[in-house]
Amino acid sequence: MPGERFDAVVVGSGPGGYVAAIRAAQLGRRVAVVEADRPGGICLNWGCIPTKALLRNAEVLQLFQRAGEFGVSLEGLRADYAVAHARSRQVAERMSRGVEYLFRKRQITLIPGRGTLLAPGAVRVAAADGSARTVEAAAVVLATGARPKSLPGVAIDGVRVISSDEALRLDRVPPSIVVIGAGAVGVEFADVFASYGTQVTVVEALPRLLPLEDEEISRHLARSFAKRKIDVRAGARVQSVRAGGDAVRVEIEHEGQAARLEAAMVLMAVGRGANTGDLGLEALGVTVARGFVQVSPRMETSVPGVYAIGDVAGPPLLAHKASAEGIVAAEALAGAAPGPLDYRAVPSCTYCHPQVASLGLTEAQARADGRAVRVGRYMFVANGKAQALGEPEGLVKIVAAGDTGEILGVHVIGAEATELIAELALGKTLEATVEEVGRTIHAHPTMAEAVMEAALDAMGEAIHL
């Protein structure tokens, strides 16, 4: 097929790629998107969205298990994971079709196949049927995402040793599982499986659950998981993983002692690696360092006209960070001068129960910076709405600069934490200080009042504390 010419071609249609494509189209550019799988990338198909559907099922189930607290009697409660799985696929399918619709609406050309950079401005697309074509464009945006990593020497066989990709394809839960890695992915699957009765063991090399979060949040989550009989082995080194016929054996070293865990499955959740291979980067001289494509603040790589966004362009590996970068890249390639992103204002959310959300520095990081720090806290147990909902677990913690009141970090654990963080992401972006947050009138009764009180507490002025 002869070459086709566009203003921009985006390789990958995840939350970075499809947003970049739409923004570039909004700015009047002719755009093509190359995608080997369903539109929407990992996020919509095999990540954020289907896992949230499963976690909602887990939440509903946990609520039913607590029905007695609310005076609702249930007999013969049964939970069918196959239905939960089917629902998660339906949700993912609906969202993916939504992306196709948006492409049609914006007259964005979706080209199925795998894209490889031939030259700056030329992408070769190899289709599943073996045919190939070349697409030309003034600008190329690489948005190829990342894939699950494993530990050295441990192969993901997709049966006994699985990654999140296979976990989302399970239509029944295993009787037992060892989850290796206690980041967001590991903790969320541990939550889902434990809710459906799986015996879950979480193994983490660093000393705590969600090791990138504030220590106080990790401690809180550890207490909650312990109550739910989730076995957490933090600070443990995995020595070996051996898959047998009907079980997997995991040898670990934990607190100076060797231990052997045995389960029906192992979920590897030790992080994700950027999809930089087979893209033709080396031949073009696109700089890749520490596994990620290096980019400028306007998301341009070392080769002019070639942009990279999202997971492939470096951490944090988050969908909304990819989308924000997609908008920057689209505006840059359209000739505008987008402002640089403030990575300190990128929120991070984990949808286990209780939910965890944060942005900016942990208290320890802020103190390590050597600056005067004020910490404000508010426990949901003192919040009327949380009590009324029967969700008194958790807290809001705000780390502020002692001199200027700058919001340095925010850490929330509890019901709807992932919604509550939006207020402080806005505050951080607008450079509000704890004073503006504390003096913002919050509706009563809401969980968000805890945000206001935490801000006031950072000033030593909390009312309900």
Partner: protein
């Protein structure tokens, strides 16, 4: 309500002003979205301007040939019966506005008005006609937030407004400081006047990074930084007729610092003539005392200023964004000329030092300045400065304020002049001084009262020994 504000669009990244070549529609013409209503000349090309809204072209606010900053309101499209009084008077009417040409941030009065909310119920009554040139008394904008000052073309009514790429560095509107709460806090703590900071946030809003950049520039200017000096873009091309002299670091620092003063600080000047006969005599007598340190007129003036500043705290003050900062201490900067520039070392606590102390310390300070042996604390923190060119045949001059100080005294030579004493002509020793004042901090009468006090002190100079 259907009012469409037509603003000068930003048609290229570097575009700061556009020239209106001609109107293709006239006032009263009916236009619909997409109609070509004008032609605009940019740095790159002539471009046709489309109407984004439909209605009647009610008002043309600039005439052919006018250069207009990006974002400025140039016309109003509205329904025939819509009241556009407030909008239409918001921009200078008719005629070219050549003053805006090439002025980078182009703070045209109308830029703010273009972003002001369109007239709502408050403007329902017919607006009284106003002199066309006067800026509209636009509603007091919120201290922060509010719409960006006309940095983008008016949004089209139909499809999403996203059709236009986001504007680059936005037009900064005068008389209104948009800054984040955090930026305000950081500036307040560092004693930085936000009016001297260029905002790079949305709509020109000043954000933390802008304050940090300004603080870095300020300390760089004081400390004569290692950064390589840049040749200003406006310099005429080099040729056989010219010699290119690379900027010394101190010259580059002065260039930066002075622009930071003269551009944002509104200066005014108050001049007085002081009879120095008695001061000259006093200095002669003091110098003749055995063991007395060398005493200069600058020392006398420093002491006199310290006395007067103590009585006029409004002069010993700085503009600090949303407040004035009065300094309890009197630290006086003394401008010292060097071969390649100027340094203003600081003599601290002048109000608490005797004349001889001031003489001894300032001599040491000036010697070390010339030897470039100053310590960092001696280079900053002045609350007032004195620049004395009296050793030259300079009768009077005016100096540029060294921010964040609120004023600087420029001192001319003491000259023999014909004066009238008791109705008879005589020869007197006269010195002219000019106080440059930051008008945000003080007004003319305050400067005049200070000079009157300074004059009285120097004319009856025994008080300097107190």
């Amino acid at each position: 309500m259907a009012v469409t504000k037509v603003v000068m669009p930003k048609l290229s990244e570097a575009m700061e002003t556009g020239k209106l070549l001609r109107w293709l529609k006239q006032e009263g013409d009916r236009v619909s979205g997409g109609d070509i209503i004008a032609e605009i000349e940019t740095d790159k090309a002539d471009i046709e301007l489309e109407a984004f809204g439909s209605g009647v072209l009610r008002k043309l606010l600039v005439g052919p040939g006018a250069s207009v900053p990006v974002g400025q309101l140039i016309a109003v499209i509205a329904d025939p019966d819509e009241d556009i009084g407030a909008l239409a008077s918001a921009a200078p009417a008719g005629g070219p506005a050549p003053s805006a040409v090439g002025a980078p941030p182009a703070p045209a009065p109308a830029a703010a008005a273009a972003g002001a909310p369109p007239p709502g119920p408050a403007a329902a009554a017919p607006a009284p006609p106003r002199p066309a040139a006067s800026p509209a008394p636009a509603r007091e904008p919120a201290a922060d937030g509010g719409p960006a000052p006309g940095a983008q073309p008016a949004p089209p009514p139909g499809p999403p407004s996203a059709a236009a790429p986001p504007a680059g560095p936005p037009v900064v509107s005068p008389g209104r400081l948009r800054a984040s709460p955090l930026a305000r806090n950081v500036a307040r703590q560092a004693g930085l006047d936000l009016a001297q900071v260029t905002g790079t946030g949305p709509g020109g809003r000043i954000v933390q990074r802008d304050v940090q950049a300004a603080l870095a520039a300020r300390s760089a200017a004081v400390a004569a930084p290692a950064a390589p000096p840049r040749v200003p873009a406006a310099a005429p091309p080099a040729g056989p007729e010219t010699e290119e002299v690379p900027l010394t670091q101190i010259r580059a620092a002065i260039a930066r610092q002075m622009i930071q003063s003269k551009a944002p600080v509104p200066h005014f000047y108050v001049t007085a003539e002081i009879a120095m006969d008695r001061a000259v005599a006093l200095r002669g007598e003091l110098q003749a005392l055995p063991g007395a340190p060398k005493l200069t007129f600058t020392d006398l003036i420093v002491r006199a200023c310290a006395v007067a500043l103590g009585r006029h705290p409004g002069i010993n003050a700085s503009f600090a964004g949303d407040r004035l900062r009065r300094h309890r201490a009197v630290h006086i900067g003394i401008a010292v000329a060097l071969d390649d520039g100027l340094i203003t070392p600081v003599l601290r606590d002048c109000d608490r030092k005797s004349l001889f102390q001031i003489a001894a310390e300032s001599r040491d300070l000036i010697e070390r300045t010339r030897a470039r042996k100053l310590r960092q604390p001696e280079l900053s923190g002045a609350t007032f400065s004195i620049s004395n060119l009296g050793m030259f045949p300079v009768e009077e001059f005016s100096a540029i304020i060294n921010p964040p100080e609120g004023a600087i005294l420029a001192v001319g030579a003491i000259l023999d002049k014909p004066v009238v004493v008791d109705g008879r002509l005589a020869v007197g020793k006269r010195m002219r001084v000019t106080l440059s004042c930051d008008h945000r901090v003080m007004d003319g009468a305050m400067g005049a009262r200070f000079l009157a006090d300074l004059k009285a002190t120097l004319e009856a100079p025994l008080a300097l020994l107190a």
